[in-house]
């Protein structure tokens, strides 16, 4: 049987996808082209299995060849983590959300912005202003994603990375990351304001933004809380009252010491 392959890397975690039809692999290559990498030994290998007849459209089932997620049922393998079959985009998001926790990181519902050698997170639920912040970004501020950012502890420091997952702002053109300097939780307001959060408030707010997808997500939640605590101890977290104006960047430059 023919075997089609592709591999990509998000937050320095490599995924390889194998399928017996080119359609699925083309989908990855079109959607995640900037994240493509050539790698001999990926961190995660995923075998895409065509959907059973009763599943409509582009849906496929997936099994991880090695390790935790593999689960067989009936005729084929399917995602152990979900009762439903998942579209490809959700599979990658799911895998990234779970695997990153094993790699001392989190997939966060946040807008990520890079400035020189530093990155910043702007967090909040839908409607809080993440895409607004991304749209306000002007040089030297550069968008990692307006919706989903990967954060990992590497060499005892947290770094934030772009992801192929995005909201209304659209696709980001670079696969990049840098040390995380500050975390902001967004409040739309009539004037700018900044208040540093205490540890437990910061962990709570981070926990509200952790992507953990699938039925048994709570199994990974305690590890996610441990990582969120470690993140909140390393990186200052603030509540940010903001106006949708480019003066946001001047305000932050004034309030936070920024390395050039």
């Amino acid at each position: 049987m023919a075997c089609y392959k592709t591999s990509f890397s998000v937050a320095k975690i490599s995924f390889s996808f194998n399928a017996d039809k080119p359609t699925h692999i083309n989908w990855f290559n079109n959607g995640y082209g900037k994240y493509f990498c050539r790698i001999e030994k990926p961190d995660i290998r995923v075998q895409i299995v065509p959907s059973l007849n009763n599943v409509p459209g582009d849906f496929v089932s997936v099994s991880k060849e090695l390790g935790l997620y593999h689960h067989k049922k009936g005729l084929g393998s399917y995602a152990a983590f979900h009762k439903e079959f998942l579209p490809l985009g959700d599979i990658t998001r799911f895998l990234a959300s779970r695997v990153i926790i094993e790699k001392d990181g989190l997939l966060l519902h946040a807008c990520g912005i890079k400035r020189g050698k530093d990155t910043f997170l702007f967090c909040g639920p839908s409607g809080a202003g993440k895409t607004t912040v991304a749209k306000l970004a002007i040089k030297p501020w550069e968008v990692l994603s307006d919706e989903t950012v990967a954060v990992r502890k590497l060499s005892d420091n947290f770094q934030a990375f772009s992801t192929p997952f995005f909201g209304d702002f659209g696709k980001v053109t670079k696969n990049t990351g840098a040390p995380l300097k500050a975390i902001f939780f967004l409040n739309k307001a009539r004037s700018f304001g900044l208040r540093q959060l205490d540890l437990i408030s910061a962990v709570k707010k981070l926990a509200q933004g952790i992507f953990l997808i699938g039925n048994n997500w709570q199994n990974s939640m305690e590890d996610a809380l441990r990582i969120a605590e470690s993140l909140a101890r390393k990186v200052p977290a603030y509540e940010l009252d903001f106006l949708p104006e480019v003066s946001l960047w001047k305000y932050l430059e004034k309030k936070i010491s920024l390395g050039e």
């Binding site: 540890l199 437990i200 962990v203 709570k204 709570q218 939640m221 305690e222 809380l225 441990r226 605590e229």
Partner: protein, 86 residues
């Protein structure tokens, strides 16, 4: 009365306080130091009156206050689906 924390509740003690997650509702519950200590003790092996004795010993409260606070707190936990009676 013996109460125990539900097994499927992810939780973490952070600087003596605690953060609990209800997996059914995805709601997060931060607990203060007293709440976190009670939560730790809710293993189903200790009765609420004995938990009150520990709280009286470790925090600055009298016996009646401790008993009332522990009872009210475990009732809230049970109502929130985080703990249950044996």
């Amino acid at each position: 009365m013996e109460i125990f924390r539900k097994k499927d509740i992810p939780w973490r003690i952070i600087d003596g306080k605690a953060l609990l997650v209800n997996p059914k509702t995805s709601l997060l519950y931060p607990l203060n130091e007293t709440g976190a200590r009670i939560w730790e003790l809710l293993d189903g092996k200790i009765e609420t009156n004995s938990i009150a004795a520990v709280i009286m010993d470790e925090f600055d409260v009298n016996k009646d206050e401790a008993r009332r606070d522990v009872q009210e707190f475990v009732n809230s936990l049970t109502e929130a689906g985080l703990a249950q009676k044996l």
